[in-house]
Symmetry: C2
């Protein structure tokens, strides 16, 4: 059981998740002696199953080492439980790199998926958008990008608050440095050709720029892991910069302080909209199992949100749905390859 404020934040977050959705059955994995004292007699977790281990992956462990020496760590045991069908998903606030490499090695990728991708939600003008990959893959082929689009499409639908069986097709954009057809790398342009194929049955929008997705132009933004990580972090950094400047503005003069008193209620909505805790829960997509990464500094609200992401994915059959999408994409990828062979 990892995270900056473990086990307190994890336990309180899990209690919060159960109170919002009593159908969830949590299993806590970690040091029972350290966990138990935080569970009060009237807690909804009083009868929780604790899978005991004193081993753990530290936040500064090198991922490859954690993989070799962490076979009895709480992180590894939790992933093993997903592999063995004892658990439906793993949610961790621990070491990101270790979680990614352990989950990949233990669960392996779904047949038809070459590389897993890290996905998360961003706030936008019209709600939120899902972006992937956020850093699992530095360089990506056209096929990788198409697979990310398929996974993002399914992920968006199963975690949307709307009925996932409904006919809404989320719109998908490829992150690029211009909207024109000839922009970007060959991988991006080839991916665009495949995603435009009606056979793949997705709502492909076209290229989107860094300035477009905060405005809510598309539901899903697909990119290689390098650019996606830069975009995610730049959006976070810019939000933090402006947030700090706003606070300074409201403190600058007596008039501004008075202004804050009047406007504070309205600004609460803005803070709520931009609050990272509401978007907590990055997902490693493409593995034979559901793996959700909570931010290490997530508070109980944020951790509960990460559990909700895992629970939505399981309840709405993410795994079955994504496999169907992959089958459709393989056909479109083959057709694009044939087309290419013909023209060359």
């Amino acid at each position: 059981m990892g995270g900056d404020d473990a086990p307190q934040a994890i336990i309180t977050g899990t209690e919060r998740a159960i109170s919002l959705d009593p159908s969830i059955t949590p299993i806590l994995v970690g040091d029972e002696g350290k966990i138990r004292p935080f569970i009060k007699p009237n807690s909804p977790l009083r009868d929780v199953r604790i899978h005991h281990t004193t081993d753990m992956v530290a936040s500064d462990d090198i991922p490859s080492q954690a993989l070799r020496s962490g076979k009895n760590s709480s992180m590894r045991l939790a992933i093993d439980m997903v592999k063995d069908g004892e658990a439906d998903a793993v949610v961790s606030a621990g070491n990101s790199g270790a979680l990614m490499i352990m989950a990949l090695m233990v669960l392996r990728t779904i047949e038809g998926i070459d590389r897993p991708a890290l996905a998360a939600f961003f706030p936008t003008m019209h709600g939120r958008c899902c972006m992937l990959d956020l850093g699992a893959n530095i360089e990506c082929s056209a096929t990788n990008l198409v697979q990310f689009a398929v996974m993002g499409d399914t992920f968006f639908r199963v975690t949307a608050d709307a009925d996932p069986s409904a006919s809404y097709k989320p719109s998908i954009g490829l992150l690029n440095i211009g909207e024109e057809e000839q922009k970007g790398s060959a991988s991006i342009r080839d991916a665009a050709a495949i995603l435009s194929n009606p056979e793949i049955n997705m709502n492909y929008y076209g290229f989107v720029e860094g300035s477009d997705f905060p405005m809510g132009v598309v539901d899903i933004v697909v990119s290689d892991g390098f650019s996606g990580n830069i975009a995610l972090k730049t959006a976070e950094g810019t939000s933090r910069l402006i947030g700090t400047l706003i606070r300074q503005s409201f403190k600058a003069t007596l008039f501004a302080k008075l202004g804050y008193m009047f406007a504070s209620q309205s600004f609460k909505n803005l803070r709520n909209k931009m609050n990272p805790q509401n978007y907590n829960g990055a997902v490693l997509l493409g593995l034979n199992g559901i793996v959700v990464k909570s931010h290490g500094s997530a508070n109980p609200k944020g951790f509960a949100n990460a559990i909700k992401v895992a629970s939505d994915m399981h309840r709405n059959h993410f795994m079955d749905d994504v496999k169907k999408g992959i089958a459709r994409s393989l056909k479109a990828i083959d057709m694009a390859q044939e087309q290419k062979n013909k023209t060359s």
Copy 2:
């Protein structure tokens, strides 16, 4: 003479630039019949030289076509004047792609520079930072990145309001998806090794993430043109999103409107800090001549700022200074290559 609001915004912007710095001698290139009526009898531009041509590059012209067929366009004639030594710099609010390709073909790169880079300033917590490349080069080698660092270093020093002859060494970061040594592509890691060499005599900070540069961690952010463009546009889009949400918050209730009345003066500083017009003037660095690209939608204040960038570069001997930097970098690049040959 291009731009969304030409020639009016260009002329008013140029007047503004001269009133701020009377040592500037502008030459206007474009259709004299269209320009002249906007110059009032008492304008500081009343005796301006107008290099007349009715040809122009349209904003939607394809750059390669503009290069072939635009030999008498105002853009081309202005670049030719820099080549022929008749002008010290070209400032254009026209078609970006056409400006980049025309300037590259006419002026060519400085000896020792393989590829030009597009650079601009961003607002940060502590002032501003310069970022390059912003889209001229999708893929970059380690040598490209090192050359961008050298050009960024010189550009920052000559355009800083401080005395450029002073000993301040701007700090330089390489944009990456983590701060650890092993992160990122081989090009980035090799560039880091070269920039760390004392021979190159620059203040290399290390890797920076998208979340770091808005906080003002470094003066100069170096990246490939794809990631740099994504970062620039994401910062712009996020600012626009939050700006819109702030305006909505202030209009949400009667109390919030009252709050705005009290706080508006303090918020003016915030708006001023984040105003893109104050950062207008992207520069195409690495050519045998000074080329500044104003945003097409720049207002007179923004256009005057772009002229100031060109004038600072000329007055503070950007061209001589950058050539010295390149000479030092070649030595560091050679040493890194030797080191690599030894270890392999």
